[in-house]
């Protein structure tokens, strides 16, 4: 086993090393993570019934209509039918919020509604409830093109996200871009590198055997290059989420996508 990994590791090392010396530009247009999946994984996403991510859609719908908190409200009390009120929301998030003078994502907005309007406790990041609600809200925009705003007040946050994306980090001294921009479409060991697009998030990941958020994925990537990950919901990841959403502009929202 050790020997096999040694060989494989060497091969990848050589592959990455070789490609690092080559200028960027392997990028062949904006591609959803979907296009990198095997026919079986695609099939799991294509059929709503086979897609295990739909469990989270169902859960989210129940929570949408469930009264919680001292104000005696459910999401539906103010926002009525999510199919109408939440349609398109996923395409413009994350977005700049002038009240907090920061970029917010859907998870943040859900918890803000809970604490401010519903007087309910915020949900923990990556909790079943927050995932289900995020999946449910984003699902209402399925098929619509990603179209985040990176103008005006959002500019510094977009730039911070871009800087994060291109910044080397961790023991491997690698930036997001080394895998997902410069080498997307190539194999790192047995792993086909995607562009790291977020249009299907939260995704049902075969590896996790559950749904997971964009920030969980960011943490995983950061750990993989042996860097200390930031907290889910941190400013760093909010800005990165904005930048990565912009990279995927025009891609259809696929939530809940199925990925390996």
């Amino acid at each position: 086993m050790g020997k096999r990994h040694l060989g494989a590791g060497l091969a990848v090392g050589a592959l990455l090393a070789a490609s690092l010396a080559v200028p960027a530009g392997a990028d062949d247009g904006i591609r959803s993570g979907y296009s990198y999946m095997t026919p079986e994984t695609k099939g799991m996403q294509d059929d709503d019934f086979q897609n295990p991510g739909m469990i989270w859609v169902d859960d989210g719908e129940k929570l949408w209509n469930t009264v919680d908190g001292k104000a005696g409200k459910a999401c539906a009390t103010c926002h009525k039918d999510a199919a109408t009120s939440m349609k398109g929301v996923a395409t413009v998030y994350p977005k700049y919020d002038p009240k907090i003078k920061k970029v917010k994502n859907i998870e943040w907005q859900v918890n803000n509604c809970r604490t401010e309007r519903m007087q309910a406790k915020p949900w923990k990041y990556e909790s079943g409830q927050l995932l289900a609600m995020t999946v449910y809200i984003r699902h209402q925009s399925r098929g619509m093109p990603m179209n985040v705003s990176v103008d005006g007040d959002a500019i510094p946050f977009f730039q911070a996200g871009e800087k994060f994306y291109n910044q080397r980090r961790g023991l491997l001294d690698m930036a997001c871009k080394h895998c997902h921009a410069d080498n997307a479409g190539k194999n790192a060991r047995a792993n086909l590198l995607s562009q790291g697009q977020t249009n299907g998030f939260p995704v049902y990941r075969l590896k996790w055997q559950k749904a997971g958020s964009t920030h969980r994925r960011f943490r995983g990537c950061n750990k993989q290059v042996r860097a200390t990950p930031y907290k889910a919901g941190s400013d760093e990841y909010m800005n990165l989420e904005l930048y990565v959403a912009w990279r995927g502009r025009g891609l259809p929202v696929e939530t809940p996508a199925v990925r390996n």
Binding site: F49, Q50, P52, M54, I55
Partner: protein, 108 residues
Amino acid sequence: MAKARVKVPKSVKKGEVFEVKTLISHKMETGQRKDKKTGKKIPRMIINKFVCTYNGKEVFTSDWHPAISANPYMAFFVKAGESGNLDFTWTDDKGKATKKSAKVTVTG
């Protein structure tokens, strides 16, 4: 509690063989994983039995082991007899059952 989804065609012709798809949310804890913090094994907790009856009669059953993935997906076939109910039961290691029912309308 586990949540189940089932899918059967709305109406089928008598004698027609149709596919039944089921999905249930469950961790299917193998009993071999270790808790990262305590180092202790997480006890096995899986759905080990799936039963489908058609108008009260068993039509398809299955025994599952930990090699069945989390959020088990099970699809199989049923031959249309009389209109009525397909009843599904998933039973876990503690004997706790999750039930779901679907109506089948048989024409012709």
